[in-house]
Amino acid sequence: MKVGLSWDLAGDDASVLWPVVNLEAEAGDNLGYDSLWIGESRDRTCSCPSPAVWLTYLARRTKSAQLRAIRLVTHANPVRVAEEFAVLDGFCRGRAGIAFAAAGAAPGQVQETIDFVSHAWALDEFRYRGEHIRFPAHTPDDAPAGASTPQRTAPCVPQWEWGPEPPDYLTVTPKPYATHPPVHAEITDDDILEWAAVHGVSPLITAATPTAEAVERLARYRATADAHGRSRAEVEPVLERRLALDGPSDAHTLGGSPHELAEAIRAATSQAAVTHLVWRRGEGSNGDLFRFASDVQPLLQT
């Protein structure tokens, strides 16, 4: 099982807190934690509204860990998101990944954003007609729904000879370093759960959801995916939890001695077919990174 780190970003001064997070991220990378997660938020003094900027900073401070962002669909221009993460993926040589959270957006907008970004990374010249996204903006109403590509009808004209008329199809550049960067959907309602399971999009449940509910949703995701013939190998279900090493468990926290904690993690993740646990650092979560890596992680792997 993979284990990653995320942070609460609770504090009075980002100039003080963020360097501490950076040190933990670098330590986590050195200790073999598999992923580092920065979530987009604006509700606290030390919130991070731009995970791509922060993670591109961490790209140069880390060597191995996956760099994962949680982006809010309501604040995301999907073209820019595709570009930001391609740049990040280049700087970290294929370690970038992204999760989309609805944050109040309609399930259809979440689905369309994921569909658009995946096509932007995979295709060369294309256009996109959706309910929420038109790319390029002048794409006509009678264009095929979703992504479509041009028919080759004339010899190639180099881009710098196109002149002032915007073309009907564009290529989003640069492309990510990895062929298919990991893409997750935060499972906040049944529509997104069903769509993600049917389409092979990896699920994520954050620490805000109680453990029992998170496990139930992820188990339902797996059952739906199985019913539609999707392979377990194609997705990476992620469960974010608070962990309390030598501390008590509660609705959002898994706790106990190293052995008890490993048992609690294994119980939760096996029910939900989770392959990637993210340790949410901050309030109600404690234990040092080294001790978890040395005392708990081996119990999760055997």
Binding site: A137, W162, P166
Partner: protein, 330 residues
């Protein structure tokens, strides 16, 4: 006068083929190198949907530069502001400002390539007005605890930027334009002005127009700051310098300056792929200074005498600029 320098590695240049990820490594290392050489700022530009995978997100790339450096300022030059929501731009900038310990400078341009506006999904016609309004929004967002803004293009009510940047406000420059009208608009708005590559005589006219408009509008002199992009090609002989300039044109400018409508004539029309005798092309060539080391120093001293606060040089011949030119100005 400050010395700023441009990035390498942010595109796959046609005549210098390389993997983009190698270019990104080089970019981050190059920032540290520029810092060691004594440059005051390291810059990254922005373009979208290009055949050569040009960098579309300068503040992201500069975050990688921030991680490799400790004191050099990190400047966007130019970031195409009308392609962003201003608050979103302020958020990216504030994030980098915190990570870098207050080293961000925003050089903001209005953009000119139609395909970029169509691809991002924003109107091109109003880009100048939106750039100036966006700079008001970014100033308010990065300077004030909470701000409200209702303008012609952008509306915000009681917004608090989180995290607060280290700089209050974040330093900003309005980039570009090669016409007096553009300079006057910047002066009237009291915005620090970053000239596009221009021959000295043109730059002199524009700086005077900028300051005149600024003073007429009541802005104090210390706010009417000027920076200038300046490509210089230095050789032992003029022939050697001109060879270097030709190399830059063949590898990059022949496409990026000539093919996308960067050049604008006196009527405000964008010029696409002009022949080499076109007056705008001749003016552009004249803006790329060629000379010996002594001639280059004399040319830059003219800009210093004009009161230019910062000069931005491309990465070519950076070591020579560092060891032989910067000491003449410090």
């Amino acid at each position: 006068m400050e010395f700023w320098t441009g990035a390498i590695g942010i595109t796959k240049m046609r005549m210098i083929p390389s993997a983009l990820a190698n270019g990104y490594d080089l970019f981050a290392q190059d920032a540290a190198s520029a810092e060691e050489m004594g440059f005051d700022a390291y810059g990254a530009p922005e373009h979208h949907f290009t055949y050569d995978a040009f960098l579309p997100f300068p503040l992201g790339a500069l975050a990688a530069a921030a991680a490799n450096t400790t004191k050099i300022r990190l400047v966007t030059g130019a970031m195409l502001q009308p392609l962003y929501d201003p608050l979103e731009a302020a958020e990216h900038a504030a994030t980098l400002d915190v990570l870098s310990g207050g080293r961000v400078i925003l050089g903001l341009g209005m953009g000119y390539r139609p395909l970029e506006f169509d691809g991002i999904g924003t109107e091109k016609r109003t880009r100048g007005a939106r750039l100036r309004e966006a700079m008001e929004v970014i100033r308010a967002a990065t300077a004030q605890e909470t701000f409200t803004h209702h303008g012609a293009h952008y509306h915000y009510d009681n917004v608090t930027l989180r995290p607060a940047p280290v700089q209050r406000p974040i330093e900003m420059w309005l980039c570009g334009g090669t016409t007096e009208a553009a300079a006057r608009r910047a002066g009237k708005a009291g915005l620090p002005y970053w000239l596009a590559n221009s021959p000295y005589e043109r730059a002199e006219v524009m700086v005077k127009a900028y300051r005149e408009a600024g003073r007429e509008a009541g802005w104090p002199d210390e706010q009417l700051r000027v920076a200038a992009f300046k490509d210089v090609f230095i050789g032992d002989t003029m022939g050697e310098a001109e060879f270097l300039r030709k190399m830059m044109i063949d590898t990059f400018y022949a496409e990026h300056i000539l093919g996308y409508g960067y050049l604008v004539d006196d009527e405000g029309n964008h010029v696409y792929n002009p022949d080499e005798n076109h007056p705008m092309y001749r003016q552009f060539l004249d803006s790329l200074f060629c000379g010996t080391l002594d001639e280059t120093i004399r040319e830059l001293k003219r800009y210093e005498a004009l009161g230019v606060d910062a000069m931005f040089f491309p990465s070519i011949q950076r070591e020579l600029i560092s060891t032989r030119i910067i000491p003449e100005f410090k």
